[in-house]
Symmetry: C3
Subunit: 467 residues, 3 copies
């Protein structure tokens, strides 16, 4: 153990002053910025009683809190337990997976409240926050968790905080371009969260390419129980994804419909994942990597269209295709990307988020372009695409075009942003570990002593702990 | 390892073409059937704006989504994490438990949406689905998860898919007979889900009796951490059961009351489970099997009556009794069923679902028979039992009789259906493993290499992985 | 193994008759008391239809169930999975952590429904319960789970049930004094739950001081996977804490605001916990104990003030401070308390609940004292502090004084109650284990045989299980 640590020291992974400094300074910055800018939205402010009268609301139940809070909590679980535990599959990086995810997300949501607040909730010099802001902050951080998946096990906590700072910023800019300038619909974030987050992360990991990573290859696998921990993450992502895709949709039918479509797409996705996982392995056995990841691709790929009038069988088709694309990606594309393009993608986010995100953007564009007043109803049509004000005359096919443009913008932002941030993270000051110490908690964490001897000791209680 | 695999091959467990074929064909069938039949219910359709006006609703919050979605998500967690992890207690069948449960449930909910849709939501040639349909589909699949518990570790994934196909079909028929023909109340499914599911599963496992199963006896136990994984399943089932029993009750007081009664019954059940677990072990120690399972029996047994005016102390009594019945069942009845009746019940569903389900049906019949206008109020009485239309003149005691008939019908359907499906699953074409390879993930899963040597390696990083 | 058991027998830990007797007798008492006293609240009673008309409610959605049930379920998860799994960090006490927590909480919620019911929901000789009572019962039990943390691994299940009986009683008395006599606001329970629960538990563990506890020192640590199990508890507590602090706040803005403030405080707390965890370890590595616990201190410390007009930056400051206080406590204070004051605090509840609870009480007093009609609005001001009836003329500064008095009362109740209950638990009749058998599941649980040899066997299937 000592020796492994010393080898790690070859690259200086000593965090004692750097990490606390970053954490404390940034948190102080958050406090100052919140102090200057952040206040409660009318529905969370004690003036709500007066607000209610002004808005002619007869009941507290009309407060947005009751429309969105249950979905918010589900999304919250997806970010912290879902992503955190999904990444615990590595045999010896569980602390880093769940712990660093916790750290970056906790910082990220604060910074996202500010960044998204300036763009979307800024009134009279103040950012007014309510439950929808909390959901959006979680969404924004979701894109960082995705990018984290690509560099899992290869980066220091400081790098992750730097990544978060920049990615949240760029996310907010990209989101503003899509939602406000292009007037694109993307409630479940196929483009803004998944496409952007994944290609951003893939660009970063490409730039941080480590030629000697095979030195830690034996630690890149799972063990029996780490695969079960990862399934906790998978299932929470899978189960709560209907909440994810419906959380910020319009009240009423849109939330309702988004949940149903996501439920359907995910169900179909499981079947094709299992089919191809078995088919692509010569002994016909199932691979936990596919079950843990590709089963989720269906949720990613209806992110844009779930709230639209995509019929349930349409959702099944999307899920059907994405289970296949994602599983095939794990078997053939990930090794190719690593060996040929030098993209080392620890969790295979290219298969789970990048490709399904693109598909989701395209499906969204098509579904929007195919919209008719007949299918949506006159009022429903206007409400669904918010064809009001400056957008009163926009037609579905034009909307489809803008949706497609949203995909392109997200990709460009991801590549450019990822290149920039990758270059920054390449600086030799952030304390990342040497190749032979990657995927090893021991570098940044106090790890309890040998489990094996403990277990042994347990059943020989008369024997001293250290022989 | 090689040898064990080859032995497995003695019975052909090769899944490579069979499993993908079944998954893909069936999913294509789902897509076609959804395409022909499934549309959104008015509350999930973009025409909701017009619907609202027609129904004189002033707010989107009146959408059924907001009454039921939080409960739906809880039920969803119970099906996938609850049942999935509850069955991970086996030392070497965690992948199969959580993975196959995932597979069968993902298929089952699609098929249930169709089957239940034809019976209950069919209008003008279309099945109209909303959040209540999602809950009902989860419920239906719950009965399959229960049956899976009886054959856990002994069946191939194809067998499980075949089981699901048939059981969902029969479930929908039985449910239709009970709810529509007999006009029985069973919101939490003591009869339709638990009694039916459990006796169905027990009949199947009886027919699939394996005389040489003691060959894999050493794998039928748990290890320390697998018992903790199972407790995740237990607790999520226990905590969310109030949502399960109230999810499809009438809006308002019925949902409210069902949640309270279930909460009470489950709390009492824990105490008597602990009492009898300790009492029936000669050293007085607690048995994890009881804590993981018998503590849940109280939720099963108020499934029918929780939404009725069963007073809270009544719930406590039901929970009290069921903790005892279930624990005693694990200690005495399960071994008896196996040795004398050749019913090999891996998870002991007879103790957790079958007996408590019967008790639940009986308690429901009694509670219904004892109903008075005094206790329910005039309007409440009619609303609670839906004594309208053709049932306007039905009296409580008659209702009690029909409730009791519902138990009998469920039992008959379970025995007949289980016998049929058991016979089908006995065909030698489904790829189930030989007795000595039961309860072993290695048969159908890529299992990561030896955990032990990994752990050893971790702490001797200079030593090569394979000595 | 045999020998360890026999040593345990030196102190008689035989539970076979004592534990069942306590469980059964007490549960029977619950049934009798529920039978005499407990009925449904109007919103959970079938007379709700008439109630609605009387209260001029136009929709079932006005039922309190829909305002509070999602939060209730989150709180329920915190009590059973959150606290239960948080305490599984010990390498060989996972069954006890999650199982005994389950037992004591299941009993405690029943007794709390009665105790709190007599004080707060008693009408015409009946306790009328609804969803808010369920939340309050969970809250009450939360304080017992906290106290359990101090004596984790050192007490018998009977001791825990006795502890629960008394602590719930005293909790209800203290809560009545604070909320009704002092008219204090404490929706998230900084004082009633955390301060009271923690100092109560610390007093109990002080009285139960075990001088030879270092004999089981080797079992007081964690192993790799037990730390991951504990993170499940941590994350569920962290994620759902916004629900905890908002669950019983007034409908509308207060619930909304409490959730936002708690979200903010917890986010900040993670950053300072990480900073100080790294800073206080000479190699700069992170300590899982801090991440598992100190990250939660921010939720404790806004328990009183979260529903008040504490601005979001105020929440960040509270979280900032508490992450530091709590982490420093784990590093310096816990060893000091143990060596000098003989307070053996297994989970470090002094750092996670006691100190942050005190801070929470103080922050609440200050926030209340600083309240103005300008900030709250005229109606909001009255509603927030319930300055009606006898309290119509109370000023914010007076309210602040009463809030401060609430802290003192909670402390006194905790010390006095803890001393009393500690003395009772010291009686040599409860079956607690000898010092050398502490932190060991084997004393009260059937523990599966050696995991190591199993794993070994798994990969040598031809080798018999017992060599």
């Amino acid at each position: 153990m000592e020796r492994s640590r010393h080898q790690g020291m070859a690259k200086n992974t000593y965090m004692r002053w750097r990490l606390p400094l970053v954490c404390l300074l940034w948190e102080v910055a958050m406090i100052v910025l919140f102090g200057v800018f952040v206040r409660f939205s009318p529905e969370a402010d004690a003036h709500w009683e007066e607000e209610k009268q002004e808005m002619n609301l007869t009941s507290d139940i009309e407060n947005d809190f009751y429309f969105r809070y249950p979905s918010f909590q589900d999304v919250h679980v997806m970010i912290f337990v879902g992503f955190g535990f999904l990444m615990t599959f590595l045999k010896r990086y569980g602390f880093g997976a769940v712990g660093f995810n916790f750290l970056l997300a906790a910082f990220g949501i604060q910074w996202a409240l500010l960044m998204q607040g300036w763009f979307h909730s800024f009134k009279n010099g103040e950012i007014l926050i309510g439950v929808e802001n909390l959901i959006n902050a979680d969404f924004c951080v979701g894109s960082v968790c995705i990018a984290f998946g690509a560099i899992l096990g290869k980066s220091s906590p400081i790098q992750l905080l730097v990544l978060t700072l920049f990615q949240v910023t760029l996310f907010a800019v990209n989101e503003y371009i899509l939602l406000n300038l292009l007037h694109v619909k993307d409630a479940g974030g196929s483009m803004t969260i998944h496409t952007f987050g994944a290609y951003f992360g893939l660009t970063v990991t490409r730039i941080l390419y480590r030629p000697n990573l095979e030195q830690s290859k034996d630690k890149q696998g799972s063990v029996y129980h780490s695969d079960l921990f990862a399934m906790i993450g998978t299932l929470y992502l899978w189960m709560y994804w209907p909440s994810f895709n419906s959380a910020i949709s319009e009240h009423g039918d849109a939330q309702h419909r988004a949940a149903i479509n996501t439920y359907c797409s995910l169900a179909a996705c499981v079947l094709t994942t299992v089919a191809f996982s078995s088919m692509l392995q010569k002994k016909g056995k199932l691979d936990m990597v596919h079950i843990q990841n590709a089963t989720l691709a269906g949720g990613v790929a209806v992110g844009t269209s779930a709230e639209m009038m995509l019929p349930p069988y349409g959702s099944l088709i999307v899920g059907f295709i994405c289970g296949i694309v994602s599983t095939v990606g794990y078997v053939y594309l990930t090794p190719f990307l690593e060996s040929r393009l030098h993209i080392q993608d620890t969790c295979g986010i290219h298969n789970l988020h990048a490709m399904p995100g693109l598909i989701g953007g395209i499906v969204g564009a098509i579904t929007a372009a195919a919209a008719t007043e007949d299918v949506y109803g006159k009022e429903g049509f206007i409400k669904a695409f918010d064809f009001t004000g400056a957008y009163q005359t926009r037609t579905p096919s034009v909307q489809g075009g803008f949706q497609a443009a949203g995909i392109v913008v997200s990709l460009l932002m991801a590549f450019a942003g990822g290149a920039l941030v990758g270059a920054i993270l390449k600086l030799p000051i952030w304390g990342d570990a040497a190749a032979e110490n990657c995927f090893e908690d021991d570098v940044y964490w106090e790890v309890p002593e040998d489990e094996e001897s403990d277990v042994y000791h347990m059943h020989n209680p008369d024997k001293p702990a250290s022989p």
